[in-house]
Amino acid sequence: MSTRHSGAREEILGRIRRAVEGAPEVEIPRGYRTTTDVADLVELFAERVRDYRAVVHVLPAAAVPAKVAELVAGRRMIVPAGLPAAWAAPAPDVDPRSADGVLTTCAVAIAETGTIVLDTGPGQGTREQTLIPDYHLCVVGAGQVVGGVPEAVARLDPARSLTWISGPSATSDIELNRVEGVHGPRTLEVIIST
Amino acid sequence: MRVALFITCVNDTLFPGTGKAVVSLLRRLGCDVDFPAAQTCCGQMHVNTGYRDEGVRLARHFTEVFAGYDAVVAPSGSCAAMVREQYPKLVRPGSRGAAAIAEVAPRVHELSEFLVDVLKVEDVGAYFPHRVTYHPTCHSLRGLRLGDRPTRLLEKVRGLELVPLPAAQECCGFGGTFAVKNPAVSAAMGADKVRNVLDTGAEVLCAADNSCLMHIGGTLSRQRTGIRVMHLAEILAATDEGTRP
């Protein structure tokens, strides 16, 4: 099935070489910020996540288990392996199609853009588990929050499948008005543990 | 200071009043103004319509005419932008005329640039007791990046009330031959510009480019709005003694 032998590969590469022959070399100026000067990362992150109309709680670590318990009460939750036992009893095998929600932590969070990044590592479930249920509760440790996109990119491993999440699922396809909730979780709730 | 005036072919042929205003304004400010008679056209219409060879010929002609002047002043943002921004891209470095272009192009100034940056005046001693709104034409705004130079000059004119134009930065729809090649869109853009001008309640619409004013003014006049269009130079040249709109 491979088109390697169709000649397409060699032909395209040949066309490219002829097209750029003699073109000047390019220097890349990287004068943009690679570290972000933010006074209070947690505060900015919370504000920016709220801007997406997600629910945010900022709590001391000791208060997290009680808050989690309160939020998951009455919901059939997927609780992937790798989360602190104090938060919730592991329930990694709940069928995502019948689950009400999913509880995770994250790999890194970005203050400036209000973004949570999942890399399917411990406590983050599979891509399917964090996609199909309608409710996503994510606990972010204050130490996981970085200032801007460059710091996050530097921390992440490209070999892992990543999902960057900025607020609940949304569309702007109708008159360019943002509407929350299409195919991904319609409710995103974030606990920042300080 | 000895200044060459590049009047532009449109002003020369259709709007001589603008040229006369530039002459009287610059003389009032102590400049020795020269009009090199061999000048014709910067070639913008040809280049922008796809006739590069004719355009290059006109560009070479321009550089020959204006070689040797310290400063060249043009009462047109668009023609000044043509010379400064487009000429250097028109002729490859190293080929015939490229060196002359590199010589002359940086010395070409649009009128408000010349006043504010070179002569360093903002109050040119003008008097114009009317309600005026200003349209920053695209090539002045995004080509030459004139910024607030024209409005700084207008604000210093005695008696003049400057009212802001809504959506000022939007193109009026002239665009050279665009106006006849895409008449429907051009007219629709012109109509929206005119609506914004009317909303200001101004008596006079001012700009630093007569070609855009020809389009907006032509629409204003067809719609019998009673609003006059005036080139920036004409307002700045006006004094207590005269040059009434």
Binding site: R127, A159, T163, W164 | T49, H61, F178
Partner: protein, 461 residues
């Protein structure tokens, strides 16, 4: 690029003239483009280093294009190492053949699709249909377009020409399972689409996507989206086929730090789009195929001025600020690439042999608003002017321009022409004949002066 997309038959001026008459369309476009303009400006102004990001974005893309051959080979190795399969397609037909073959090999007759410009460009859905395979668009706007038997009119928001009332009509008419009491509230419309597509996502075995970026060094593909339909397609099916233009490459993982800032802020006007997915080869156990598409791109690359169009990251900021797009709408451009980027890309990909394609470089007043907002600093006016020099010119226009050039070439000839005009000034009619009637249909002519400036100067300057 094949001419599979023929939204409208005429040339751009005629198409645009029709669109300008459509007041509903004008209203929809104006409202939508002005909304997004404001949002973009706010989130761009918020970053203190936008200029530096833009300069870096431009240079990274230029550097990639300069060594595109090397980076593509590097990408191929990385994808293959990660268990993926790489295919090369010289043109639309070849790409369609490859995709159809891959789908058939799975034994499936249905695929779900994530919005992708490349697959629209090659007419993949139609090609698959001819092979008995049904492609379901899952992006809300694409769904609206597909159900309405319509053509996309915007890169980011293909149904931008439709308002909520029209969308409701389309859903009620064509969706089959639309709730009978459906209102035109955007939330209700989105909910209807959610329910309509849910089962299909869970059932589908094959998905087709594009990609916003491919990372040469790691073999990673990146898709930015809002709704989650992308995540559904990228995650659930067993086979994933991504069709991506060869210019979508970035050399290093680190380069994402620039583009994940430039793209969301420029396109939806958000600090970050709701979802971005990255994956490398078949890391998740899927059968992954990458189809690298040329389809005219290498011709664009060969053009010194025009090649900058390949920097485009399809953010659509240039459409949203364009005064011509706002009034003409996307269909007038007769291509999946409308607006300013379409006006420079389509004629380069397709050539200028059709009346429509030859008229596209002129579909601009050269106001420069597109260049100002472009996150990778594509000088669209420069490319337009360059294309105009290559476009075919009508005989009458050519003759007129030649005469004008001849007169303007010499001061004496110009002075004579001015004096002749001054003498005939009273004879100029209020309405001009022929092509110049395009001016006087809506505008008065300026009065021709008795004396030119140069004659005045001669006399008393």
């Amino acid at each position: 690029m094949s001419a599979t997309f023929l939204g409208m038959p005429g040339d751009f001026p005629k198409n645009a003239a029709r669109a300008v008459q459509d007041s509903q369309l004008r209203y929809n476009l104006r409202k939508a483009t002005h909304t997004i303009r404001g949002k973009r400006a706010a989130v761009v102004d918020e970053l203190p280093d936008w200029r530096e990001l833009r300069a870096a974005g431009k240079a990274i893309k230029d550097e990639t294009l300069r060594h595109l051959d090397r980076y593509l080979v590097q990408l191929e190795e990385a994808v293959t190492r990660a268990g993926g399969h790489v295919h090369w397609a010289r043109d639309a037909a070849e790409a369609n053949r490859v995709v159809a073959g891959l789908v058939k090999a799975t034994g499936e007759t249905e695929v779900v699709k994530v919005k992708s410009m490349a697959t629209q460009e090659i007419g993949l859905n139609e090609a698959l249909a001819a092979e008995g395979i049904t492609a379901y668009e899952t992006d809300l706007a694409e769904l609206i377009v597909q159900l309405g038997d319509d053509f996309p009119s915007h890169i980011l928001v293909p149904a931008i020409h439709r308002n909520r009332a029209e969308i409701r009509e389309i859903f009620l008419d064509r969706m089959g399972d639309a709730p009978p009491g459906l209102t035109d509230e955007p939330a209700a419309l989105a909910e209807a689409a959610r329910l309509h597509l849910r089962e299909r996502f869970l059932r589908s075995k094959v998905a087709v996507s594009g990609a916003n970026f491919m990372i040469a060094e790691t073999g990673t593909l990146v898709v930015l989206e809002s709704e989650g339909n992308g995540r559904m397609c990228l995650t659930l099916p067993e086979t994933l086929i991504s069709v991506v233009g060869i210019e979508k490459l970035l050399p290093t993982w680190r380069d994402l730090e620039v583009f994940l800032q430039l793209l969301p802020r420029s396109s939806t006007g958000e600090r970050m789009n709701p979802y971005t997915s990255t994956w490398t080869g078949s890391a998740e156990g899927q059968d992954f195929h990458l189809v690298l598409l040329d389809n005219g791109r290498t011709d664009v690359l060969a053009d010194e001025v025009g090649r900058q169009a390949l920097r485009c990251i399809r953010c659509s900021a240039c459409l949203n600020v364009c005064p011509v797009y706002e009034r003409a709408g996307g269909h007038a451009y007769g291509s999946v690439y409308p607006g300013p980027i379409g006006a420079i890309l389509t004629p380069q990909l397709r050539g200028m042999s059709s009346e429509l394609d030859a008229s596209l470089p002129y579909a601009s007043s050269l106001c420069g608003a597109c260049y100002d907002v472009c996150p990778v600093a594509i000088d669209i006016p420069e490319v337009l002017v360059d294309l105009r020099a290559k476009a075919p010119h009508g005989a009458a226009e050519r003759a007129g321009m030649r005469v004008a050039g001849w007169i303007l070439d010499d001061q004496t000839r110009l002075a004579k022409a001015q004096r002749a005009a001054g003498r005939l000034r009273r004879l100029v009619p209020r309405r001009l004949p022929g092509p110049l009637s395009a001016w006087t249909d809506t505008r008065d002519l300026p009065e021709i002066p008795e004396e030119s400036f140069r004659d005045w100067w001669e006399r008393e300057g």
